[in-house]
Amino acid sequence: MSPALFSPHSEPRSVSKGRPAFGIPVLAMLLALASPALAVNPDEMMKDPAQEHRARELGKDLRCLVCQNQSIDDSDADLAKDLRVIVRERIGAGDTDDMVRKFVVDRYGDYVLLKPPFKGTTLVLWLGPFALFVGALAVVFGFYRRRRTATIQPPPPPLSADERRRLDALLKESGK
């Protein structure tokens, strides 16, 4: 599949094989093909600061679909801009945050949520870390218990009547 371009600024859908791509094994490097910092523009912003604040917060939770790992709030891709505008339209129309999120999910699926919803298929994701922590504590607990039982030897069984007699005999001998 050859790249389907949005605009010169957005990312191709697939990087075709053998195409020279720029890149670096680095931390925190944003989209090689997008120009940075030109995301939210003054002309998109809502007049009411409280509503604008809601829109920004919502935007941070919504994934820009064409730029992969950016939120629509960080991306300057055209589709991200459209979604920012539409999110603001919904807020302007009186939607709650949940309604706006549902609006976008209805069209793009759960994929668009950077914070995956808590449901059957994400149970492992959400509860896994805490289960791991509890599991690890259980292992550590077992470790301490094993060591304690390993060090505290069981008391030796009491001497039998025969042994007692031989011991007494030995003691008498040495007492001479």
């Binding site: 791509a21 720029f22 890149g23 931390l27 940075p36 960080d74 994400t122 870390p129 390993a150």
Partner: protein, 658 residues
């Protein structure tokens, strides 16, 4: 011609690595000294050959030899010299060569500094090191040859992505790789110990400084990367929980755990099999990161040329190295002796708790990073796991960690007195609570996020707790006159711990404040117009075009005033590079104790004026200061006499003499 020499040197290095991987191992197994002795010279030769190859590629970049495809694709004659050199590791092939060079360097370091090591352990470790070399040399030679030629050579190159033409980024990858690859030392010694079936204090004493060195490099690399992201990306963010960042964070977490568990091995001869596992996992995470970044299985904003053939190759490497190690571990580790005893409430117990939390943290990052892949592979649908998830799950796991960090250093070895320690910390607890409440009121209660108070309380708890511990160690309150002398005589490793723990507290302040109270003003600003940001008046004075070496910048000049008085100018730029033709922004930042004024210039507005983005990012310098303290703490600890490489044998001699 020079490129061919480089290529040939890599082929020779592969042959040497194969010899180094086999002969010493057989020698160690059969007790043949001469075979074991092959490891040393082989590691030196291998390093020499790989250094020649690295030099050859660097030469091609410096001389702009565009007949080498890699240079043609990533360089340009106009580029400043620093970025010509940094261009070597700006791409897949070159960065792989850097990785291999560093690996060979560490291998050679074992030979250089390890004269006192038991020959069996040393030759086995060097053989394992060589096995990793063989894998990566095969990888580069078979799938990613950096010396491939281009016929006919182009007149000029494609240039380097302008975002990478930055000093922060020039030094970021070498540090990161010194960290990643540095963990190969602990790994090789762990495998060698499994092969020998023996782990003791001498092993830990050898592994600890190398782990610490790798950890220092990795910390440095991560901080440099975050700092770079902060000032180039133009909106003040510095961490994105992107898969590639996570790929560097997971080995850091595992490495931090390893750092702490080797202490227990050294001191108490306990937690041995766990430490071995951590050593494997820390380097395993480094390899996993390589796989994730270069195979294209995950989507990341970091664009590397991905190629399925490479993905398959690295996966094979990963399976052989990590899978093989885990199998060896399952076979050999259960036979390891239990070692010394300690109570759950003790320094060792606290270090173990640290390990549990760190390991859980690393596993959480791993789960979050891989979950999109897992869900997709199991047909559970496409999901995204982004910053909101990590912030919601990872950070709560780290809170108990910070609480333990203040308590642990005060705990006695073997059997501690928790009530006693908590009693000593009661004023610290009160201060932490007060700080939290104070911050809560200062931000106007629920006008800010609920967790700011918690963040500041934790930072206060940890910083004061660490200082109290230091004061007690030098008996500052009991015998103030002698305190300075005691402070000087305090082991450097103790100082290192204090500095690093204090650094974490400083970092928490930066993290909390910048996440909670950043103010942002995005507007179209006319010339002469003033906008108030974080108490500063920011006035746009002029915007003019300024030529750069390989770009044209439109540079804005802002007058900054405080309480009506001018305190300076700030000049952010928007650059358009000629090759490749791409825009970048360079923010202007004015740093202070309370935070950064951060100014970005955008496009011209058709109605006159310019789009400007003005931020006040509170306490951001605290992040870098915290990171720097971590690095300095690591370095100070590394300078401890007991950590000096080669010390184990000398210590042993002393013990014999006594």
């Amino acid at each position: 011609m020079i490129a061919e020499i480089g290529h040939f040197a890599l082929v020779l290095a592969l042959c040497v690595a194969v010899v180094q991987a086999v002969i010493p191992l057989v020698g160690a197994k059969r007790g043949m000294g001469s075979w074991m002795a092959v490891a040393g010279p082989a590691s030196a030769l291998q390093f020499l050959l790989i250094a020649i190859a690295f030099g050859a590629l660097t030469n091609a970049y410096v001389t702009s030899d565009f007949s080498v495809m890699n240079v043609a694709q990533n360089s340009h004659t106009d580029k400043p010299m620093l970025y010509k050199v940094a261009g070597v590791w700006s791409n897949h092939e070159g960065s792989l060569l850097l990785w291999i060079t560093i690996l060979a360097l560490f291998g050679y370091a074992v030979t250089l500094f390890g004269r006192n090591l038991p020959p069996g352990l040393k030759s086995r470790a060097l053989a394992v090191q060589a096995m990793i070399s063989v894998g990566f040399l095969l990888f580069i030679l078979l799938t990613s040859n950096p010396f491939a030629r281009l016929e006919p050579p182009p007149v000029n190159g494609n240039g380097l992505n302008p975002m990478l033409q930055d000093p922060g980024l020039a030094f970021h990858p070498p540090f990161l790789y010194l960290g990643y690859v540095g963990f190969s030392m602990a790994f090789s010694f762990a495998i060698a110990a499994l092969l020998e079936g023996r782990v003791d204090a001498a092993w830990a004493r050898w592994v600890r400084p190398w782990t610490l060195a790798a950890w220092v490099f990795l910390t440095c690399g991560i901080v440099l990367g975050s700092w770079w992201a902060y000032y180039t990306l133009g909106w003040g963010g510095w961490w994105y929980w992107d898969p590639v960042e996570n790929a560097s964070f997971m080995p850091w977490l595992a490495g931090t755990a390893l750092l702490h568990s080797t202490v227990v091995v050294e001191k108490r001869d306990a937690l041995k099999s766990w430490t071995i596992l951590l050593a494997i996992v820390a380097f395993g995470f480094s390899l996993l990161g390589t796989f994730l970044v270069r195979s294209g299985v995950l989507t990341s904003v970091h664009a590397f040329a991905t190629d399925p053939a490479r993905g398959v190759f690295i996966l094979m490497l990963l399976v052989l190295a990590v899978g093989g190690s885990f199998i060896l571990y399952a076979m050999r580790a259960p036979a390891m002796k239990m070692g010394g005893l300690f109570a759950p409430v003790s320094r060792e117990g606290a270090l173990l708790l640290n390990n549990v939390l760190m390991a859980t943290g690393a596993a959480t990052v791993l789960l979050g990073t891989l979950y999109p892949l897992i869900a997709d592979a199991l047909n559970l649908g496409k999901v995204s796991v982004g910053p909101p998830f990590f912030n919601a799950v990872f950070l709560p796991l780290m809170a108990p960690m910070v609480m333990v960090m203040a308590v642990a250093p005060m705990m006695a070895w073997k059997r501690g007195d928790l009530a006693g320690v908590l009693d000593r910390l009661k004023f610290v607890a009160a201060a932490a609570l007060a700080a939290g409440v104070l911050v809560w009121f200062l931000q106007g209660g629920s006008a800010g996020p609920w967790w700011t108070g918690a963040g500041f309380a934790l930072a206060t708890w940890l910083s004061l707790g660490t200082l109290i511990d230091l004061a007690e160690r030098i008996r500052l309150f009991q015998a103030p006159a002698e305190a300075l002398g005691r402070a000087i005589r305090l082991p450097r490793s103790a100082w290192g711990m204090v500095l690093a723990h204090f650094g974490v507290a400083v970092f928490i302040v930066g993290l909390t404040a910048s996440a909670a109270w950043t103010t942002e003003h995005i507007q179209s600003q006319k010339l002469g117009e003033t906008v108030m940001v974080g108490g500063f008046g920011v006035t746009l004075k002029s915007v003019e075009d300024v030529p750069g070496p390989n770009y044209t910048a439109s540079r804005a000049t802002f007058d900054i005033s405080r309480d009506g008085e001018s305190v300076g100018v700030m000049q952010p730029e928007k650059r358009t590079y000629r090759m490749p033709p791409r825009p970048t922004t360079t923010a202007a930042i004015r740093s202070g104790m309370t935070g950064d004024l951060y100014v970005v210039i955008g496009d011209a507005d058709p109605k006159g004026g310019y789009v400007t983005r003005l931020y006040f990012n509170p306490c951001i310098p605290w992040l870098w200061a915290g990171g720097a303290l971590l690095v300095i703490g690591g370095l100070v600890s590394l300078a401890d006499r007991r950590h000096r490489v080669g010390a184990p044998a000398r210590a042993a001699e002393r013990r014999v003499a006594a």
